[in-house]
């Protein structure tokens, strides 16, 4: 356990500390930038962007070797990856706009073809004399082992810049993500903001290549916003929640990974984020599954109870098993299906409410009442006691003959 605590406290070495900080910053930037993609319902565009970085990494390596350099300069490789990621993005847009293909097909085509091309280029590099130890495969799944100090600096600085850019552009991006048409009408340059969003996503992807790898970086863009969505309904806080979840995942994941061998950084970061997601999915108070299941069951019983009582009031036989169970469970009917005294009283109350609603709807024809008349809303929630008294007075009047038994 000690190595883990050391890593968590940034005591596991200079590089490990820088990587942990870099991963936390990256996670924050990815979560925040991913929020806009998620709200724009284009989460998987980032998958195409991420896979499209591979040929760029390879080409940049070849170019740098050809120019007489080392070929492994991280900044150079990242620049190359950004170029092909951008081309991939344009390809997705071109296909979606110009042809009958939908965006999902375009995304899948771009990510797989660019990846395939990247693999071809990697095999070319392997045959180059200087390419055998290039280690470009580490960009597939990320690897922080043997990372140079200057690489860690690139990641930490890049992460900080991405966070800063997200913060500066948060307002126009939120506007576009929530309601593009309204944003356009109020003079926001929507295509420009969209492009900026994608540029930010690209930046995060490129910075994350070394830590998380190009296959899993998309998780950092998608999982935090989806997780954050369970905890808040407000857009501004969604960004910060997502950033926080991403940052925590990045930090914890990097620390875990540094604490033991055989714990690859990228997958661990993603699994930490996924764990936070699972917890939120099940336990979040309003949108979580546990709460939803509970609510649905309660709601279904409410519907069956009401329908059962209506049937009792009209002296109709009840066939539905669940309805019978609910009524029996509440002691409203006996085992043989005959209404108990409480059942009759409740049924009478419901029958009275139904008659009240009839009158209410006759009197208040233009108050948009139809929407509340859904069979479940108690009339006391909609009308004041004196209004209800008035309904009762009318029920006692001429209508009673028509509706009475």
């Amino acid at each position: 356990m000690t190595p883990l605590i050391e890593a968590l406290l940034l005591q596991a070495g200079y590089n490990a500390a820088l990587v942990a900080v870099g991963a936390a910053l990256l996670g924050f930037a990815a979560g925040a930038a991913g929020t806009f993609l998620f709200l724009r319902k284009r989460a998987l565009v980032s998958d195409a962007v991420a896979h499209a970085t591979l040929p760029g990494v390879g080409l940049a390596f070849i170019a740098m070797v050809w120019l007489g350099g080392d070929g492994r300069n991280l900044l150079g490789l990242l620049t190359g990856s950004a170029v092909t990621a951008g081309i991939g993005l344009l390809a997705v847009e071109w296909m979606t706009r110009r042809t009958r293909l939908s965006e999902d097909a375009a995304i899948g085509a771009v990510l797989s073809v660019f990846f395939g091309l990247g693999i071809v280029i990697l095999t070319v590099i392997q045959t180059m004399s200087s390419g055998r130890q290039a280690g470009l495969e580490s960009f597939l799944l990320g690897s922080t082992a043997g990372m140079l100090f200057q690489d860690a600096i690139v990641i930490a600085v890049g992460g900080s810049l991405a966070v800063l850019a997200t913060w500066v552009m948060r307002r126009p991006m939120t506007l576009v993500a929530f309601d593009a048409e309204y944003a356009a009408a109020s003079g926001v340059n929507v295509p420009g903001i969209d492009r900026l969003m994608m540029a930010l996503v690209m930046a995060v992807t490129v910075i994350g290549l070394k830590i998380v790898g190009l296959i899993l970086i998309v998780a950092m863009l998608i999982i935090p916003p989806v997780t954050a969505r369970f905890w808040t309904e407000r857009s501004q806080s969604l960004i910060w929640y997502a950033g926080g979840i991403g940052g925590v995942s990045g930090y914890l994941g990097a620390a875990f990974s540094a604490s033991a061998p055989d714990l690859p950084t990228g997958p661990i970061i993603v699994l930490v984020a996924a764990l936070l997601f699972l917890l939120s999915l099940f336990l979040a108070p309003a949108r979580g599954v546990a709460a939803a299941v509970f609510r649905h069951r309660r709601f279904q019983r409410k519907v069956h109870r009401r329908q059962g009582l209506l049937a009792l009031a009209r002296r109709e036989p009840i066939h539905d098993e669940l309805t019978l169970r609910v009524l029996r469970g509440e002691g409203l009917i006996r085992a043989d299906g005959v209404a108990t005294e409480t059942g009759r009283a409740q049924a009478a109350k419901i029958a009275r409410d139904e008659r009240r609603w009839d009158v209410a709807r006759e009197i208040h024809q233009d108050t948009g009442l139809a929407g509340r008349y859904d069979g479940l809303t108690p009339i006391e929630e909609v009308f004041a006691p004196d209004e209800i008294a008035e309904f009762d007075r009318r029920i006692g009047g001429p209508r009673a003959k028509r509706e009475g038994p």
Binding site: R98, S102, A105, S112, V113, V120, L216
Partner: protein, 308 residues
């Protein structure tokens, strides 16, 4: 192009062709159902499925791997649906969450377990290794009727051949169900067709095709096989039957041309070593798609999109 071709190129090329066709067929329906990225998700979860199957059985054998991958695909699809419905999350994001998580789990398991002795490693899983599937017992074309030589074909070949035949058979048998439930799901449901089972069957078929192809071309390039030939085919015709024929043709062209270019292209350019055949197959399929997008006679949309 004599004995050397039969020994080194015939089987990988055949495997490439069969894998491409097996993936392209379900791909046609996935694309029309706007589920192209289900192919993406499936091919990513093939890795964890195979790793789990290996950890459970301790052997690298065809049947457990197929079952493991198909199981992982089902788990992934169920998870995606669950996240979509329970969390009210849009489908793309639900897919992204699911397949990246399962993939990360697969990589971690692989790194943690002792799989170095067997040919299961992440890079191989991602990139495939088509070139290694050679037929060493072959001497020349006459080996095709030599039982001893035939017994020595790489086991991947009969495996993908059986899967490809199975996919073709399923496509033919369930053609009408697939067509109607893809075009008009509500109507198919009203007819009493098992719409949910048809959709799940399509996904499982795609998963089985993906895992059989995975050996040869790796899990990412499988996505190209699912999407590119059918997408290019969609630009060539407005009939579903003809689209499927076009997609098969494009799949075969991608596989053959991709393999040839990977093997001989560098030699023609003065290089010495071949490049990744799987990568080249994906690249060729991408070039075909790009050409179809630019010049295909039916590249523009004509009908209105579905609103629901």
């Amino acid at each position: 192009m004599g004995s050397e071709f039969v020994m080194f190129s015939l089987t990988p090329m055949l495997i490439g062709v069969l894998a491409s066709v097996a993936c392209a067929l379900p791909g046609n329906f996935l694309i029309l159902r706007r589920q192209a990225l289900i192919g993406d998700a499936i091919s990513h979860v093939v890795l964890p499925g195979i790793v789990v199957a290996f950890l459970l059985t301790g052997v690298v054998a065809a049947i457990p791997m197929l079952l493991g991958a198909a199981g992982a695909a089902v788990v992934a699809v169920v998870l995606i649906e669950a996240i979509k419905r329970l969390g009210r999350i849009e489908p793309g994001a639900a897919m992204g969450v699911t397949f990246t998580t399962l993939f990360a789990g697969g990589v971690l398991l692989l790194e943690q377990s002792d799989t170095s002795s067997v040919h299961l490693d992440v890079e191989h899983a991602l990139m495939g290794n088509l070139e290694s599937l050679v037929w060493l017992r072959a001497t020349d074309w006459s080996s095709l009727i030599d039982p001893w030589a035939l017994a020595g074909v790489p086991e991947e070949l009969p495996r993908i051949a059986v899967v490809c035949a199975g996919v073709i058979l399923l496509t033919l048998v369930f053609w009408r169900w697939l067509k109607i439930s893809t075009f008009d799901e509500g109507f198919a449901q009203a007819l009493g067709l098992p719409v949910g089972a048809i959709g799940m069957g399509l996904v499982i078929t795609a998963a089985v095709a993906a895992v059989a192809a995975f050996d040869a071309v790796g899990s990412i390039i499988v996505i190209a096989m699912f999407i590119c030939p059918p997408a290019a085919a969609r630009m060539m015709t407005n009939g579903l039957e003809r689209q499927v024929w076009w997609s098969v043709l494009f799949a075969v062209i991608s596989a053959v041309l991709g393999y040839v270019l990977a093997g001989y292209g560098p030699l023609w350019l003065g290089g010495e070593n071949a490049v990744s055949a799987a990568g080249m197959i994906a690249t060729v399929s991408g070039i075909i798609l790009a050409l179809a997008c630019a010049f295909g006679p039916h590249r523009a949309r004509v009908g209105a999109r579905a609103e629901v």
